[in-house]
């Protein structure tokens, strides 16, 4: 006796959250059954393995049918085939678009192309996430990217509107899209200590301040591309380190203000010029795409690592950066205050977030 056909269709589509998670995690039916057995469900319910197998198959089939709709979540809301309560629809969508930290760190900033997709095998091996799940996550990134890349308006809003994600997840996706578009390098060994959250935080600041959308909310790609003009202008900041007088004055302003307030004052004083040069040079280099990509590598190399090797406490870093940014306003010979604020305001936030072990 073999079961040829075995289905269950409810007027309200049954969604089992646990099975959904197993499906999303890319387990095969038999693996999922084994995992469910291990969870002790048989003992709890008195069911048999055959019942579990049939149940799992059924849910997998339903999810498979729903997947097409999940690719365009508004369709899930409007479709007539599956009657699913709104709260369940939201859960389906949110979980489908959720991603693994380990996975996103691997592909963040990479081009979402076929080439990267080929590397998913390696990522799967490295992270222990099933290839199927990797593919789903990668395809999600790519799909969201494709839809919102050339869209007008706020990136987060666009993502929310087209994918019906929660605010938090939409923000994460905005970061992923932003990183993918600007191809920021995040995979270097030096950057391994950074979490996705760190990058997402930086991305949000950069989107708010450094993109076209920050100055004009009526342009295409406004939140995705950096403001080219702004990047060009950043060259002007170079005089802060090129002009020796200006640099000295800046240093003395900062030192005067921070004397007695920093635990690492002497280290700061000794390193001021190096740090300042590092930060300003990063700005000046941003005209080249290649250097834009290396932004985070540069920030870590030029600022985070020197400070860390001198064991700056985070609070000292904060005090320093605040003072460092503010003091520029007192430099009479420097005319690009607004530019400086736009640059440094964001950078300060990013650096503080990046500064940890």
């Amino acid at each position: 006796m073999t079961s040829e056909l075995d289905i269950f269709v409810g007027n309200t589509t049954l969604i089992d959250e646990d099975v959904y998670r197993l499906w999303l995690d890319g387990y095969s039916v038999s693996d999922a059954v084994a995992l469910r057995v291990r969870s002790g469900i048989l003992e709890q319910t008195g069911a048999t393995a055959a019942v579990l197998q049939s149940d799992t198959m059924d849910h997998y089939r339903t999810f498979h049918m729903l997947e097409r709709l999940l690719h365009a979540p508004p369709k899930l809301l409007h479709q007539l085939i599956f009657q699913i309560p709104p709260s369940r629809q939201a859960l389906l969508i949110e979980r489908y678009y959720a991603f693994d930290e380990a996975f996103v760190r691997e592909v963040l900033g990479k081009k979402l192309s076929k080439g990267t997709k080929k590397d998913l095998d390696d990522i799967s091996t490295k992270t222990g996430i099933t290839l199927k799940s990797c593919r789903r996550q990668f395809d999600n990134f790519k799909r969201v990217f494709k839809v919102v890349e050339e869209m007008r308006g706020s990136l987060v809003d666009n993502i929310q509107q087209h994918f019906l994600l929660s605010d938090r997840l939409a923000r994460d996706y905005a970061a992923i899209v932003f990183f993918a578009n600007n191809r920021f390098e995040t995979g270097k060994k030096k950057l391994q200590y950074l979490s996705f959250g760190d990058f997402a935080f930086c991305a949000e600041l950069m989107i708010q301040n450094w993109t076209l959308g920050a100055v004009d909310s009526q342009v295409d790609d406004m939140d995705v591309d950096l403001d080219k003009e702004f990047l060009q202008d950043l060259k002007e900041l170079k005089m802060l380190v090129a002009d020796k007088d200006l640099l000295d004055l800046h240093k003395s302003l900062v030192c005067t203000a921070l004397r007695g307030k920093l635990g690492v004052f002497s280290e700061m004083e000794a390193n001021f010029k190096n740090l300042s040069r590092g930060l300003v040079n990063v700005a000046a280099k941003l005209t080249h795409n290649k250097d834009v990509r290396d932004l985070f590598v540069d920030l870590v190399e030029k600022f985070v690592e020197p400070c860390r090797s001198d064991h700056w406490p985070l609070n000292d870093v904060r005090l320093f950066l605040n003072q460092y940014s503010a003091s520029v306003h007192s430099l009479d010979g420097f005319r690009h205050q607004a530019l400086w604020d736009r640059y440094m305001g964001t950078l300060r936030g990013c650096l503080l977030r990046l500064y940890h072990d």
Binding site: M1, V9, G10, H78, Q79, L80, I81, Q83, P86, S87
Partner: protein, 1022 residues
């Protein structure tokens, strides 16, 4: 009444990409009704076209309005080649033809293609203007309302119940026409869909005409089926009950509830002896003597003799005469006279209803059924036709006189069977058959026609006009005890149509009742039931040699009696094992396949307080000298006894001890045991054999004389009870549960198993089939575990044998969560509720309360909360249902449409019936693997069918389908060719319901004055 049909095509969405180059579609729409076609403009390059067409107007006869469906085809415009069809929508405009139903059909319909399934949606608005033209010769029956619901619809009142209407139409099946060889599968499928739609419309119109002739205005319990007879054609047939219905203006208006002094009151069946326990009332005749552990042996001897088709209390063979029609008393005579006059003019006094207005059902005789094997092949001249049933004679029909292509042939077949049923009922002293249904099973050229129902005596009051007052008086005189009246035998006890063991009713002590009662109807609202009920199934397979034509028909005819007999035995055994004494909703399905016959009987077992306690089951060994064998037997016996005890606990069956009944030795004397012989079938007339002097009879005896019987005993014990928190029944509601919440889940589950052809013995087959059903149930319980505590209601199993080694089982049911904590409160207020129901349903506003008050005098010996009057959870009786689900979330896009096989929605009130939904779909694929194999294919198709039903209901302005039924699910596959095809036919009533607001039961007062009308309709939230 000609009319003007107006259609507007508004927009489309989610259309498929038809042009690969642009990834877009140039869609336009053809709107066709009858022979007229309109087209919209082509909406270029869009998957979400906005046509916003003008109103397309069709001027048509109302006859066409009833027959024809509106056909909407969405196409992709192609400049150079033929336009590609995207899909179709068929809209039945019948609901627009009667005034009280929908006025407009407007909404999003899935665009359906028989090859690709649903491909996007289309927004359509349909209206009908009817012109009054009364002078014309009527061919149409516009205005007659149709209901699938097998009870009087909730917001109506039955003025007269006229009776049986039936009709059938026959046509050639397009799939078997020569043209099918040259047309595409899509064209063939669409031709079939359209034809069945047309035939359904025609059938409905013809039935409507009959109803008008009878001066009715509605058909209730409308059941339409189609038979795919292959080469010999396509039959669409329907039966129903013609009624005159009145719409209730304000059903929520309650009379002030009477004082119902104690909570035990509900257990007091009206007019019964108030103290039956403490003293024996009435003479202690041998008949009444009965011990707890065993029941009269006559029940057993009836077993052996009832191997013919009729189950339970049906008469013996050849009982067509009026011998059993002797009157039991002056009242019965009177009643019979009255009703007979009302019923006699009818050819078939049949009613497809399964639930009735209070007072309608007077007595129930038992199940009557008839089967007949027919040959569909018209080439073979003399066909052997077995007429199953009491006559047990096989008539030889001359096939030359029949042309199977004509409806007359089929009409004659059914007429024959109905005649049979009628005579069975008569033999039971009944003049009517209720809960009547008909079905067929077809394999190749052999067709089994089956009909079954419950013989009953009815109150004439509903059957004819102008007798209402007279009947009311009569009712008062007759003093029919409400809780047990229907159990009282309608036949003459001294001249019984079959051997049965009778006792005085355990409720009223005045009338005789049988020891078990089988019926096809729902449990009457006022029946007194102890404990809860449960689903009981008998399952059976019998191998059959492959044969042709007559030989095949003969073989089947010969097998049928044995199958019926065994199914009956199984049911009886299982019922006793559950410690119960009555079956409701009995449905026996015999399915014929190439090389086997399958029998599946489902029913809901209950313990009726009026009937005696069932005896246990005794096992008898054949060789008592063998020590180890004896030991084995006693072991089995112990197991059985344990099971019975466990079941009694599980289903809360604690009937009051009836002390005076315990007389005589508890051990049955061996000589009184009769043998249970499965082969014994042709025992003749036993009508007068009943020996009433045999006071003490032993229990139901199973003699283990061979391995076969052993298997049976084992299989009895292998039926696993549902996990705790689950109950199941195949009736509308579960006896003993009435605190339903509004959380419902309707589902369909289909399983197909392939038998390994190696070990095809009857036993192996039985085991496979049994496992299939049991596993299916287990899966359901597991899947629905989040709904615990929950009851599967209206569990409907259908078996088919699509191929040699395939068994297909389809189950549709609804799971309803109930609130455990409210049980006590509910039982308290529950008689009042049924009271109010009764009183609002009819005009007997005074009667019940009066009876009640007079009855509920002193305290009662019965333990409270054990006996519960079953109440149908009607909108009015649900005041204290809790709506546990979250407040209805406003889903802006798609409104929720509930579907249920029940006639009501728990926790809600049906305010409007919008019309009948009757849909037929075909789905075919040539890429079975790509669609996820057979399971993926069928899963998607059933989901699509649900979606299309919901969309039609929503477009009518409804939010639920009640009395939903999947009448057919024919699945064929050819994995080698990567192909599969499935046909599904569903129906139901589209309704509008409103949720009842949560009402707190205010019953804090002293126990003597809980007269709060706890179930007023109250405010309503949508």
């Amino acid at each position: 009444m000609p009319g003007k049909l107006k259609v507007k095509i508004v927009a489309g969405r989610h259309l498929p990409v038809m042009d690969r180059a642009s990834d877009l579609t140039d869609a336009f729409v053809e709107v066709k009704f009858g022979n007229t076609t309109f087209k919209t403009d082509v909406y270029l390059k869009s998957l979400n076209p906005q046509w916003n067409s003008e109103w397309f107007k069709f001027e048509v006869d109302d006859e066409d309005l009833q027959d024809e469906p509106l056909q909407i085809t969405v196409l992709d415009h192609d400049t150079y080649s033929a336009n590609d069809a995207i899909g179709k929508v068929y809209i039945d405009i019948d609901p627009l033809l009667y005034s009280e139903a929908a006025t407009v059909i407007s909404g999003w319909f899935p665009i359906y293609d028989t090859i690709h399934g649903i491909r996007g949606e289309i927004n359509v608005v349909v209206k009908v203007d009817l012109f009054n033209d009364l002078n014309r010769f009527r061919q149409s029956s516009c205005g007659v309302k149709f209901f699938c619901t097998t009870s009087i619809p909730k917001c109506y009142r039955a003025v007269i119940i006229h009776g049986f209407v039936e009709e059938l139409v026959v046509n050639e099946d397009p799939e078997y026409q020569w043209i099918d060889r040259i047309r595409t599968p899509r064209a063939s499928n669409e031709a079939r869909q359209r034809l069945i739609s047309l035939m359904s419309g025609e059938l409905q119109r013809k039935i409507g005409l009959k109803v008008l002739e009878m001066r009715g205005n509605a058909v209730v319990g409308y059941l339409q089926c189609f038979d795919l007879e292959g080469e010999s054609g396509l039959v669409v047939r329907a039966i129903g009950t013609a009624c005159t219905l009145d719409k209730l203006s304000s059903p929520a208006a309650f009379l002030p509830a009477c004082n119902s002094p104690s909570k035990e009151m509900k257990e007091i069946p009206f007019n019964e002896d108030p103290n039956p326990n403490t003293h024996s009332s009435g003479p202690s005749t041998p008949l009444k003597n009965q011990t707890y552990s065993f029941s009269p042996s006559k029940s057993y001897s009836r077993q052996s003799s009832s191997s013919d088709t009729d189950l339970s209390l049906t008469p013996k063979t050849g009982m067509g005469s009026g011998s059993a029609g002797k009157e039991g008393g002056p009242f019965k005579a009177l009643l019979r006279q009255q009703t007979q006059s009302a019923l006699e003019q009818r050819e078939f006094p049949f009613f497809t209803l399964t639930a009735f207005p209070p007072g309608f059902l007077v007595h129930v005789g038992g199940v009557v059924s008839a089967r007949s094997v027919k040959l569909l092949d018209r080439i073979h001249n003399p066909a052997f036709v077995g007429i199953m049933g009491n006559t047990r004679s096989y008539k030889l029909l001359d096939w030359n006189s029949f042309n199977s292509d004509e409806p007359e042939t089929r009409d004659a077949w059914w007429a024959e069977i109905r005649q049979e049923i009628k005579s069975h009922a008569k033999a039971l002293g009944c003049h009517a058959v209720v809960g009547y249904s008909e079905s067929t099973s077809i394999c190749e050229e052999v067709c089994i026609l089956s009909a079954s129902g419950t013989a009953a005596v009815l109150n004439p009051r509903f059957l004819q006009d102008g007798t209402v007052e007279g009947c009311l008086e009569q009712r008062l005189e007759e003093n029919l005890p409400a809780g047990c009246g229907f159990c009282h035998i309608p036949y003459d006890e001294l001249n019984m149509p079959f051997p049965a063991h009778l006792t005085y009713c355990y409720n009223c002590r005045k009338q005789k009742v049988p020891d078990v009662l089988f019926t096809t109807i729902d449990l009457p609202i006022d029946a007194t039931v102890i404990g809860k009920g449960c689903l009981i199934q008998a399952r059976l397979c019998r191998l059959k040699k492959k044969a042709q034509a007559e030989a095949n028909a003969t073989a089947i005819s010969n097998l049928l009696p044995f199958m019926e007999y065994e199914v009956h035995t199984q049911l009886m055994n299982k019922l006793k094992l559950k410690g119960m004494n009555a079956l409701f909703g009995l449905r026996i399905q015999i399915t014929v396949g190439e090389n086997m016959l399958m029998g599946l009987a489902s029913a809901t077992g209950v313990y009726l307080a009026a009937l005696p306690t069932p005896g246990g089951i005794q096992i008898a060994g054949k060789t008592p000298n063998d020590g180890s064998y004896e030991q084995h037997i006693s072991h089995m016996q112990k197991k059985i006894n344990d099971t019975i005890a466990k079941n009694k606990e599980l289903y809360e069956i604690n009937p009051p001890e009836v002390s005076e009944e315990i007389i005589g030795s508890p051990i049955p004397e061996p000589r009184q045991r009769s043998r249970l012989l499965r082969s014994q079938s042709e025992s003749s007339d036993e009508v007068t054999e009943l020996d009433l002097s045999h006071g003490k009879k032993d229990a139901f005896v199973l003699e283990i004389d061979d391995t076969d019987a052993m298997e049976d005993v084992h299989s009895l014990l292998t039926d696993v009870p549902p996990p705790s928190g689950f109950y199941s029944c195949n009736t509308e509601i579960m006896p003993g549960i009435n605190n339903w919440t509004s959380e419902i889940q309707m589902f369909t589950s289909v399983r197909v198993i392939r038998l390994s052809s190696l070990n095809l013995t009857n036993q192996a087959l039985n085991k496979n089939f049994n496992d299939l059903c049991e596993n299916l149930l287990k899966s359901l319980y597991f899947k629905l575990r989040s709904m615990i505590p929950c009851c599967l209601c209206h569990v409907n199993f259908t078996v088919s044998l699509p191929e040699d080694e395939l068994i297909q089982v389809t189950v549709t049911a609804v799971a309803i969560t109930f609130d455990k904590n409210q049980a006590l409160q509910t039982t308290k207020t529950h008689v009042e509720k049924s009271l109010q129901r009764a009183s609002t349903d009819n005009e007997e506003l005074l009667q019940f309360p009066l009876e009640l008050c007079s009855d509920s005098l002193p305290s009662h010996p019965f333990p409270p909360a054990k006996a519960v009057t079953v109440e149908k959870a009607s909108p009015m009786g649900e005041g204290n249902f809790r709506n546990r689900s979250a407040p209805p979330c406003a889903n802006s896009t798609v409104g929720v449409v509930k579907m249920t096989p029940l006639s009501f929605i728990p926790g809600a009130k049906i305010t409007k019936y919008l019309g009948i939904i009757n849909m037929f779909f075909i789905r075919e694929t040539t890429s079975l693997r790509e669609e996820g194999g057979v399971s993926g294919f069928l899963h998607a198709f059933i989901a699509e069918v649900f979606a299309m039903v919901r969309a039609h209901v929503a477009a009518l302005g409804g939010n639920a389908v009640v009395s939903y039924i999947m009448k057919q699910c024919v699945f064929m596959e050819n994995p080698n060719k990567n192909q599969a095809q499935c046909l599904i036919n569903v129906s139901g009533d589209a309704v509008v319901f409103v949720r009842e607001s949560e009402l707190e039961v205010v019953s804090t007062q002293q126990p003597t004055a809980n007269c709060q009308p706890s179930c007023t309709g109250g405010e309503v939230t949508t």
